[in-house]
């Protein structure tokens, strides 16, 4: 019970902090630090609760905190290991983002913090609420809460019209998705008359036996909703527009946590809620297909971007593709080969965690660049590595992590995905193709990661950049990046530990009896994985020994260096050599535009006047939030009601007051007339 209270407190303090922040938004520092303190407190609380959950099993509210008996909805808090996992991700990343914001927000001069910190905290609260509740209606409530607050944060820079448009696209699509989910929920609700997850589960069971078509309709609607939020293409068209325009600290949360909520929803509904049936198989295939689409298009589109945040945004789509692929595989394999399924699910969760960490890191990194350079255009950067070494290092770590370079994070997850897809693909060849595609895309991932790296930190600086002015970002912006970088490294170096944490989450997700023993899957090693599906070990991966070996080889290299310096070799920094010519710095540059041109052209084509680059439309036509003329006319009450009325009234009153001619005799006349009138009225009025 106490744990529950700690949880509730750490959620409540966010709301409180939002209130205080809203009051003190005028004082930049106070507001920022209060918000940070709030998030810090809640983060500690959440982590404690999560630990409790992982050790002592799920937290449940005995009786609903608040209930609408009329419609059978009640606010039940249930935090199982899966929720706990998401809670931890959310709180940690929000913590980093808030800490980052303290200095970062000074970049937005003209804007009011009132539209930032309160909404940031409420946004975090909303996301935590989404994973905590076990009632569909309140799930939607928090979901909408999350969406609206994030919408406000996305359009933080209200003055640029493009931002508003992107925000509107986000608003529109997510709400269409929400609508679909609402319809689906009501279809289920119609069966059981309650919104609680358990009842929904029963409703699905009923549909499974009675009306399969309806069940698939429901699942389709749910999938559309969650896929929209998870930004799985083609539903995720909002993401590449919304992420770049939001402040980087927000982009970090959006792509680090919020889109993962879609995955959470899919896991909840399609795995946890949907009873064991052939529907798993079918929908696993569907989800995997959408995953592969997002992966391919997202990665290839990221390759073509010259806006650093847009590049990262597309990369999130690609990584979401990996996660969905894994989830889909898991669902497909679940009934035929539980070990494969378990590995796939664990891979999905693992990749989710990795991607959360590294995307947050990457966006913060991009934010630091924007903070210093003031532009998002990769063509206008370059050569910052020498000026901002720490940022460059964190950037490098982010890039290598997303590319899945061992021993950094997301190698293990990708490795697991390949293993399960390729080995599982022997029986379901479609996944073999998917696995190869995933493999290919991971190379593409490496390509765009390096493009970011080269265009930002390496190469020659753009002519506009005044290198003498640019220094390392403030410490409060460095620390979150370092924290996240360390997390990325740790997630990669200790796969067994991470898997041991993810295992209970998966256990809480799957029906009983579907999850093999941990050691049966990953062997009994503490440092390395010996992956084995039922028959024989099919893969080994031991970061510790890799590091030892690499260290040894570095030692060899060091010896060579010693040898060379013993041989009288000295280091000297000289001018860049342009084949004998002299060029001013920044005059001769290899811009990000030129990277991989021949390769990109294979994925660029033109359909009906729309340019596709990397299989994705180059310029998405953003809708404008427009009100039809007649509606505007109707809504403009001032125009047709107030102004005429007021002016008419004033004219009337002026006309009336002209009666006061000022001559005493006239006033006496009034009195006399008044008396006569009074008498007449009195005698004409009905008595009694």
């Amino acid at each position: 019970m106490t744990t529950l209270w700690i949880l509730l407190c750490s959620l409540g303090i966010l709301a409180l902090g939002a209130g205080i922040a809203a009051i003190t938004y005028k004082q930049h520092k106070t507001c920022s630090w209060i918000s940070f303190a709030t998030v810090f407190a809640s983060t500690t609380g959440i982590i404690y609760c999560a630990a409790q959950v992982f050790i002592n099993g799920p937290i449940k509210t005995a009786q609903p905190l608040f209930s609408l008996p009329g419609i059978g909805a009640s606010l039940m808090i249930t935090v199982d290991a899966l929720s706990a996992l998401f809670l931890v991700i959310t709180s940690v990343i929000c913590f980093c983002s808030t800490l980052y914001s303290i200095h970062y927000m000074s970049y937005y001069k003209g804007e009011s913090l009132l539209r930032y910190y309160p909404f940031l905290l409420l946004f975090a609260l909303g996301m935590m609420g989404v994973v905590c509740v076990s009632d569909m209606l309140f799930f939607f409530v928090f979901w909408e809460f999350m969406t609206l607050t994030s919408y406000v944060l996305v359009i933080y820079e209200r003055n640029e019209e493009i931002n508003l448009r992107a925000g509107f696209l986000y608003f529109l699509l997510t709400h269409i998705g929400l609508l679909c989910m609402f319809v689906a929920a009501f279809l289920l609700y119609a069966r059981v008359g309650s919104f609680s997850f358990k009842e929904m589960q029963n409703a699905m069971g009923m549909l499974l036996t009675q009306n399969t078509a309806l069940l698939h309709l429901v699942l389709t609607l749910f999938f559309i909703g969650f896929a929209t939020k998870a930004a799985a293409l083609p539903f995720g068209a909002w993401l590449p527009e919304a992420h770049p325009v939001a402040p980087s600290s927000i982009s970090a949360i959006l792509s680090g946590v919020m889109i993962k909520m879609g995955v959470y929803g899919i896991l909840r509904v399609f795995v946890w809620m949907l009873p064991s049936s052939h529907a798993w198989y079918i929908w696993g295939g569907v989800i995997a297909i959408f995953g592969i689409i997002s992966m391919v298009i997202g990665s290839l589109a990221a390759l073509t971007q010259d806006d650093n945040k847009k590049l990262i945004a597309f990369s999130s789509i690609g990584q979401i593709g990996y996660i969905l692929l894994a989830v889909g595989m898991g669902m497909s394999f679940l009934r035929v080969a539980p070990p494969l399924a378990a590995v796939a699910f664990l891979a999905a969760l693992y990749h989710l965690v990795n991607d959360a960490a590294l995307k947050a890191l990457w966006f913060l990194n991009a934010g630091s660049i924007i903070y210093r350079i003031g532009t998002r255009d990769l063509n206008r950067m370059g050569g910052l590595g020498t000026l901002m070494p720490i940022t460059a290092t964190t950037g490098l770590i982010a890039c290598l992590s997303v590319a899945g370079i061992p021993p950094l994070s997301s190698f293990t997850s990708k490795w697991l995905i390949f293993q399960s897809s390729l080995i599982g693909g022997i029986d379901m060849p479609i996944y073999l193709v998917f696995g190869v595609a995933a493999f290919f895309m991971s190379v593409v991932t490496l390509a765009y990661a390096l493009k970011y790296m080269n265009a930002t930190f390496l190469g020659k600086s753009h002519g506009e950049i005044n290198r003498s002015l640019i220094t390392e970002v403030p410490i409060s912006m460095k620390i979150p990046q370092i924290i996240l970088a360390v997390i990325c490294l740790g997630l990669g170096v200790l796969p067994i530990m991470v898997l041991k944490v993810l295992y209970p989450a998966l256990n809480s997700l799957l029906p009983f009896g579907y999850l093999p023993r941990f050691t049966a899957l990953f062997g009994s090693g503490l440092t390395g994985i010996n992956l084995s599906f039922a028959g024989g070990i099919s893969g080994m991966w031991n970061p510790l020994w890799l590091i030892i070996a690499a260290g040894f080889c570095f030692g060899l290299g060091y010896l060579v260096f010693r040898f060379s310096s013993a041989g009288g070799s000295r280091v000297r920094v000289a001018e860049t050599w342009y084949g004998g010519r002299k060029h001013a710095a920044g005059e001769v540059r290899y811009t990000s535009l030129s990277f991989y041109v021949p390769f990109k052209q294979y994925f660029a084509f033109r359909v009906k006047g729309i340019d596709f680059e990397g299989l994705y439309p180059k310029t998405l036509h953003l809708p404008r939030m427009t009100i039809p003329q007649w509606l505007r006319a109707v809504l403009d009450i001032d125009h047709w009601l107030y102004y005429p009325f007021a002016s008419g009234f004033v004219r009337l009153s002026q006309w009336f007051s002209r009666v006061h001619v000022g001559i005493p005799q006239v006033y006496i006349l009034w009195i006399i007339i008044g008396v006569i009138a009074a008498i007449i009225v009195l005698f004409t009025l009905p008595a009694g």
Binding site: Q654, P664, I671, G674, V675, A678, L682, F683, P686
Partner: protein, 494 residues
């Protein structure tokens, strides 16, 4: 004894002031204030005893103090104290470019005290004719206060005030005579004049006479109360009199009319339904036309004056209903109007003191310089607009209910609409004065003087009362209840 003291004491003090006023300011301001404080103390004592449930009578029941009288007396003398407090700095130091004239200030304070005396007499007396006499006396005693500045406009205003009110009130005298004459056959000689007695025999009187008398009363006392169309003197007098006197006029003087109506017309209400409707009509007309005219005003004081016309409509409407709820609401609104309208006028005075202008178009964006005034103004404005949690809301809501209860839905609706219009008008004015840049920027720096402490104190006291009565109406409930019961008792006697 108290009923006599309550008006004899101020008269005595007035005489003292007149006698010694020129010697030293102590004998003007000091004596006046002292006199009012004493009077206030007496009225409080009276009030206490009346609430105790006894009726104070003297001079063979020619003086008869019941809850209503007590209420009016407390209200009058209390308001008087605040106004004198305000005047001390406003009138004495704020010369409007005139040489300091001890005689003038002497009679300024002397007449105020005298007026209070007459007012208390009006409230204390029980004789129909004497009530008329004392009322005329109050009219006269205020006349030279209106013309205080002796400039063209002030004299004009004073002339109109004197002439119109005298004529109107003379009509009321006719009404009194008629009622008196009609009461002769049914009452023993020495009782004929007593309102309390007349109230008992209204049924027996010939209807035509009663109706004509009622018309006369409404015309006469309505002139005093500033009901449309007898209000012509009111805006001029309010606008041109010195600010404390404006507050006095719309705070107390016009309330005498309402009081007289409550005493005279109300006693016919139960037996003659036509009277009720007639009064409701008159009141509605007043509130509607008053608010309409207020919208056109650029002169702040004139605007407030028209608002007084409109607000008196509420008071009279409530009193005319003759039901408990109606009379209660009317009296409550009477008290509230005294407070918030007085406060508004004092705020206008502070503005004039600080900026030397009372034209809304010349004022603007003075909130920074005079926050207290702004605060008070808004409190009063919202109170008059009938916004919770201010006192105006309490009384207005009561009135609406009373009207609806009595079946006069149209009147209720009109009252609600007018209440909204009032709020809108005041919000408009307040916005122009306190926030927007002045429409006519004569000089960049509008605020030239600082509002003195005494003036601020008196304003703040009233503002506090606005809020206090709003959030804790029970503070005044017993007095109102007692007063209402008294009126109803007279009616019940009928």
């Amino acid at each position: 004894m108290l009923p006599i003291l309550v008006f004899v004491v101020p008269v005595g003090f007035a005489v003292l002031v007149f006698a010694l006023g020129r010697v030293h300011w102590i004998f003007r301001e000091g004596l006046a204030l002292l006199g009012l404080v004493v009077t206030f103390a007496i009225s409080i004592a009276i009030c206490g005893r009346v609430l105790g449930g006894e009726l104070l009578t003297a001079w063979d029941r020619n003086l008869y103090v019941d809850g209503l009288s007590a209420l009016m007396e407390v209200l009058g003398s209390g308001m008087g104290i605040i106004i004198v407090l305000y005047s001390i700095r406003y009138v004495t130091r704020h010369q409007l470019g005139m040489p300091l004239n001890p005689w003038r200030h002497t009679y300024f304070y002397g007449l105020q005290v005298l007026f209070l005396g007459m007012f208390n007499w009006t409230c204390a007396t029980n004789s129909l004719i004497m009530m008329w006499v004392s009322m005329e006396a109050t009219t006269l005693s205020v006349a030279f206060l209106v013309t205080f500045y002796w400039q063209r406009q002030s004299m004009e205003a004073g002339y109109k005030y004197l002439l119109l009110v005298s004529v109107g009130v003379t009509l009321a005298l006719l009404g009194c005579v008629l009622v008196y004459a009609a009461a002769i056959p049914f009452l023993p000689g020495h009782n004929i004049l007593l309102l309390t007695e007349i109230g008992k025999v209204t049924k027996l009187m010939p209807e035509s006479v009663v109706l004509i008398a009622c018309a006369m009363f409404v015309a006469g006392f309505g002139t005093k109360a500033g009901l449309i169309p007898f209000h012509a003197w009111l805006p001029d007098a309010h606008a041109e009199a010195p600010v404390p006197i404006s507050a006095l006029l719309s705070g107390i003087v016009i309330k005498i009319g309402a009081y007289a109506l409550a005493r005279t017309v109300t006693i016919f209400a139960p037996s003659y339904g036509a009277v009720v409707i007639f009064v409701a009509i008159m009141a509605s007309v007043s509130m509607v036309i008053g608010i309409i005219m207020a919208w056109a005003q650029d002169d702040l004081k004139r605007l407030l004056a028209y608002h007084s016309v409109s607000q008196m409509g509420y008071v009279v409407e409530g009193l005319g209903l003759g039901t408990y709820l109606g009379i209660y609401g009317g009296l409550f609104h009477l008290v509230n109007h005294t407070i918030f309208k007085g406060l508004l006028f004092l705020c206008a005075g502070a503005l004039m003191y600080a900026t030397g202008s009372r034209r809304i178009s010349e004022l603007g964006a003075v909130t920074k310089k005079m926050p207290v005034t702004a605060f008070c103004f808004f409190v009063a404005a919202m109170s008059m607009g009938g916004l919770p949690p201010f006192n105006g809301f309490m009384s207005k809501i009561t009135l609406f209910f009373a009207l609806a209860d009595r079946g006069l839905l149209w009147a209720a609706i009109i009252s609600v609409i007018v209440s909204f219009l009032t709020l809108a008008c005041l919000a408009h004015a307040a916005y122009k004065i306190f926030w927007s840049k002045p429409a006519i920027t004569s000089n960049p720096e509008i605020v030239t003087k600082k509002v003195p402490f005494l003036m601020q104190v008196s304003m703040i006291v009233l503002a506090l009362f606005c809020i206090l009565l709003g959030v804790y109406p029970y503070l005044i409930y017993p007095m109102l209840d007692c007063a209402t019961k008294c009126i109803l008792r007279i009616l019940g006697g009928a």
